[in-house]
Symmetry: C2
Amino acid sequence: MMYHELMIMCEFIIGGAAITCKNEFEKINEDNLVTVSSQLRETMMSASSSESVLEMDWSKRPGGISETLNRVDDFKQQEILDCNSFVVIHGAGSFGHFQASKSGVHKGGLNQPLVKAGFVATRISVTSLNLEIVRALAREGIPSVAMSPFSCGWSTCERNIASADVSTVVEALDSGFVPVLHGDAVLDESLGCTILSGDVIISHLAAHLKPQFVVFLTDVFGVYDRPPAEPNAVLLREIAVREDGSWSVVKPSFEGADKQVEISVASHDTTGGMVTKISEAAMIAKLGIDVYIVKAATEHSLTALSGKLREKIPEDWLGTVIRYVP
Amino acid sequence: MMYHELMIMCEFIIGGAAITCKNEFEKINEDNLVTVSSQLRETMMSASSSESVLEMDWSKRPGGISETLNRVDDFKQQEILDCNSFVVIHGAGSFGHFQASKSGVHKGGLNQPLVKAGFVATRISVTSLNLEIVRALAREGIPSVAMSPFSCGWSTCERNIASADVSTVVEALDSGFVPVLHGDAVLDESLGCTILSGDVIISHLAAHLKPQFVVFLTDVFGVYDRPPAEPNAVLLREIAVREDGSWSVVKPSFEGADKQVEISVASHDTTGGMVTKISEAAMIAKLGIDVYIVKAATEHSLTALSGKLREKIPEDWLGTVIRYVP
């Protein structure tokens, strides 16, 4: 019931690669994070672009507390801002992966000291990143609240979600907050523990919250027919998902060639499971929810976040649209 | 059912004042935090004092990652350690209070921008402290996991706990982890939001988890008959709680004088609600759970954590015992 009162405009996924420095251990890409945060603010705060940003991170940082104090007094004169419902889910990027892979947390086995330690170490790493993202959003005046799947009591069985009550997320949204979730180490009924990936969280939330659209922010312009680095790589503009969950590239149109096969071949070797990504997006699209895969911190991501793409895709927009075509 | 399988040895409350620098904004008392963590490790890891500490914080920090890597390999040869069930709850100290009081989060009113911003700012501050405490414990080889009441979906109504499912905490304990909770900003059914204090969390968990004993770590030796700074302040060694919840000082014995009244008078003006603290402890003691109020990072806190006090209180032990006397 609560679910129907609630209109989620967008589920907004920040790929780990988009906000961290891939090859540097636990290093945030500050520039991207700031741009992503201000773009989200622009799109979620109705008619507020003119107003001064009201920081909601009053903690110690370079710049210090005196400035924060002034900020606090700003609020007294401030009108409350209408803000659309957003949910943010972020990947781990260069956080967590080292700890998880070193210990094999995803394989389970909490009775092994290495796995148990890895579970603790992974959560420390991903929650550190989560805190920094919440703070970056708060500095842009976005009422962001951290929600760790493990703390929310979410658990899996054989790596599939066994219990993931979304009511806490819904209540936060109802109160006008922006929940910020992330891939996390969780308890698994059969394995003891595993990693609950951001992608699984996205599909789960999409199915329950029924957002108008979902945006994947990544570090490339979208989905290509081969590794983007390759000279002849072609950006796939539009992918149609059919009733049976199968999908095909509708734009650009390739004569004859069966792109699906070609991509899957390419991806298994080199693109790190781009087909997996498309299949996940396809599952969301099948619910009638448009999915936009776009490069973070660009004009294209701003357009995607604004929801304008639901009416029409501009010719000069760079990204991949995945939508259900009955 | 699960609850009965589980034997919680101790609920372990770190007062904010014991681990932060009271008068310095968001400053942790590193020395105390390290000592508190190693004392907890000593008491929770059976027969492991001789073994090398297996760090579970593998994140970037002074000392760096190479050292972390060596650590990781240690685990492969390591026996799993028996560890007793502990729950850690910490106060905010110099974290969160500024944000909460500036905005009046405890009074509610999320429709006011200042309150909403304060809610976000308070959570950022207290979760930052929580992360540092989890990391300090993990460095001592304690499998600590952060659990924010707000993320756990805990909420209040008129500031009293309305919904606070402890099953997530129980499952973490069952899996051999040490849940680390803290006072937090939460949603309130009637007020919109408020502050759920660590003390309320303690009583709630004590009532549900039935620990063998509860330790309050503070920055003084225990409860005094007047402000500890005063020259003639007397440490109250033992307080007896009766069936009806009333309590009285049994050690030292004061001839005639009604200490209870005297303390309450003194406390209202000066000791910052020591009577409130005693009353909370008394509620826990009434459940048949001994409560020890002791100075953090001392030999006395180590003794209290070890559980030895349940057999006998050594003459030279400094602290306050609050227990039920039928």
